[in-house]
């Protein structure tokens, strides 16, 4: 079953995280759930790899973390997009679309 899911290409995880956080601020677990839902279970994200990515994005200043009380009444670390992160999301999304279109073109060649 797992074999049918797609491995994430290098670097796309950041893009997905930024996109997901652009909608609302989330804690790590919620984020992993969200990614699986919206990708309709097609993408395989090793949950563990999410956290180093979050820490890296935080270091770059694209997302910001704060501790808040979660829906089940526990303290959880919530991440939200910064102004800088919004810009970065636009840049990366545009780049991704361009790449996808280009690769699509090549594959569609007769």
């Amino acid at each position: 079953m797992a074999d049918e899911r797609l491995e994430l290409p290098q670097g796309t995880l950041d893009l997905l995280i930024l996109k997901a956080l652009a909608l609302e601020s989330l804690h790590g677990w919620a984020l992993s759930e969200r990614l699986q839902q919206v990708s309709r279970e097609a993408l395989q994200v090793q949950q563990g790899s999410l956290y180093p990515a979050l820490h890296r994005l935080e270091r770059r200043g694209w997302i910001k973390a704060n501790w808040a009380i979660s829906e089940n009444n526990r303290s959880a670390k919530y991440y939200k997009l910064t102004r800088q992160g919004e810009k970065q999301l636009e840049v990366e999304a545009a780049a991704w679309r361009k790449l996808a279109a280009a690769v699509g073109h090549v594959l569609d060649m007769a």
Binding site: H27, Q46, Q47, G48, S49, Y51, P52, R59, R74, K77
Partner: protein, 887 residues
Amino acid sequence: MLNDLLYRMRALFRRNVVETELNEEIRFHFDREVEKYKKQGMTDEEARRSARLAFGGDEQVKEDCREARGTGLIDTGVQDLRYAQRQLWSNPSFAVVIILTMALSIGANSAIFSVISSVLIKSLPYPEPEKIVRVFLTSNIYPKFPLNPFDFRDYRTHSKSFDSLAAFSRGDMQLSGGSTEPVRLHGFRITSGFFRVLGLHPQLGREFDVKVETPGNGLQVILSDRVWRSQFGAAPDIVGRKITLNAQPFTVVGVMPAGTEHPGNEYRSLAYGEDVDLWWPFTFEGDPTRRGAHYIEGIGRLKDGVTAEQAQSELSAIMTQIARDLGQGKSDWQVMVIPLYREVVGSSQRMLLVLLGAVGIVLLIACANAANLLLARAATRQREIAVRLALGASRSRLVRQLLTESLLIALAGGALGLGMAAGGVKALVSLLPADFPRAHEIHVSAPVFAFTFLVSAATGILFGLIPAIQASRIDPRQGLHEGGRTSTGTGRLSRLRNALVVSEVSLACVLLIGAGLMLRSLLNLIHLDPGFREEHVLTASVSLPGAEYKTEAVVGRFYDTLTTNLASIPGVEAAGAGSDLPWTGYDDNTSLNIEGKQAPPHDEFHARYHVATPDYFRALGIPLLRGRFFTAGDKPGTQRVVIINHAMAQKYWPGEDVVGKRVTWDDHPKETDWFRIVGVVGDVKDKPSSADTEPAFWWADLQQPFTSTDMSLVVRSTADPQTLAEAVRNEVRRLDPALAVADVAWMDEIVYGSVATPRFAFVLVGMFAGLAILLAAIGTYGVISYSVSQRTPEFGLRMALGAQRLDVIRLVLAQAAGLVLTGTVLGLLLALTLARVLKNLIYEVSPADPLTFGAVGLMVIAIAVLACYIPARKATKADPMIALRAE
């Protein structure tokens, strides 16, 4: 960027908080995941397993997070450090040996660097010192000659190269009426602008203006801070007060601040340093058209952008113009302008650099030694390293870990070495010759700390890198299989270790040869005949104030009486007085005419002149070769006589009997202007560092053409030194209680001190060489004993098959001899090329001295073979049964 930095800083310095947060975050995730699976109907256990699977290894994730935070390098660095520390603790004797050898060699480097940093690197204590130059005359005969005052005044008037140009000349003074009994003070006569050249300002009062240079205005004085404090209780109203110097009233016009350093001088020299007590004006007296007398030295501060060479050619042009104006022909003299820095440290520079080179070689040997010890240990750690490689440690991480260890060793050695250097520097300074430039400035300073740290770090990498790379190259499978015994890496490893030993031995050879050459040179100097007998000779100096001792007759009578009285002290064999003593920098020269001889063009007859009382030669132990010494009968009104030295007789009357020949200092002599040579004395070396003697002659004290108020006393006596010195003081005081007796010293101390520089160089290089050969011996021992332990089974087998103990010893020694001979031959060849830098530092020894090379070669081989003998004997103890069973 800023955000990144802040983030990393928080991650680094609030590590505990950040770690707790990370744990909390991951536990939260895990709990939610488990909850989710439970809701789907799993049991608690199943849910946990699924969650763990979905998440991946949580330690790995945490590690990745730390990596992502950007503190990974530091984290692992701390780990590596702990690991290295554990490794060193686990083998204390290894750690002690290796850290001690590094400490010794790094400490020696730091000590030498302290000297270099203070003497050569630190700038002179004057503002913009690079602009200060010294001005001399130079000719073929006299490489460095003082100036004539009127010439100097013309230079100062006409030259445009200098901000200010000044001249100075030694003029000690006797102070009476201070807080102590009469004292002789080190003084200099200076022209106006002298302190402006140095860029120094009086702390009280002012500098001399140009008015004091006119005769009659010269009774002014500037005091040093030291004299102001010690003689006048730091009186704030000292400026304007009259003090008694040489029995004349001088007005104090200024006080220089502490730290006013004398720039050094050549003629009647006082070494560079804070040793001048007072300065008084130089006055231009006499006929400005007569310019034969040369006794002042020039010093100047160049204008911005003017070089010493430019100033030199400008002054030379002025000199030519002066000669033309005075109607003189072309002379052989030239002006020489030398940067002050070169003048102060020039002579010691080469020696210090040689010492730095020597101590650097010691450090290289110590590095090779440490690398060797680490390689040997890496061999015993093969198994451990193989296990770690097999468990997935990366090779770069291993190299980093091993390097951390060598860095730790080197830094520990450096810290310890710095402590040794602090003590060593004190010892070094006490070993230094008294006139060594800037010796009092030498101490362990901030640059020395920086140097030590850098050297330690560099050596840590230098000796750690090869063993680390070597160790990480182990193939884990083999390392594990063979259980850490002989492996395929051994061939390469032992080649490397052999190469290290060969280089250690060859470098030690180089140092030993350096030390050997210096020792021979030192012995040559010590065995040089100084030309006098220094044992049991006390010397001192007395200066008669010209204001009270006005005429030749008065001065002559004083010294005549004094020497007679001194001779009557019990135990005194002879007592005399003279214008100077050997090796005090006295260098007064004159040209002369010789009856019946014509000087070749451009090479006038010349000689150094001195004055002596009848017993001066006997007191110093200078032998009479021909004729007679002076007697009481050589006085005014009788035949005027001189005594000349052997060198002068040889130079101007080769093969002739000179006694009875006549010389004069007048170009158009009357009959009474002729002096008759009555004796020839043996040559006294001009300088302790060479056998050369220039032509010289002596006037009889009572017949000299001018008055010598300042004389040196020489007393040869078998009496107790302390009582003799006191007796001499008493005799002087008895004649004139206002006189100070200065410079009391024993001639044998002066002789001992005269070879201080070569002795200093030899002692240091000798110590370094000793350390070097010790390290090389340790290195050789290490390699051979390791190889013996590797070959134990082989030796056991051989002995089982009937080999004798001697055969086994021979086998081991043969292996050692191969290494040692290679090292020695390489070392001798290297020394042959390197020893050339010593050329100017060694006396009467060829840099390729066969005796030194032969002796060192044999010595190194002997020491190395000795170092191998212990492991060789061990080899013979190999028990065949144990050896075979181990196989």
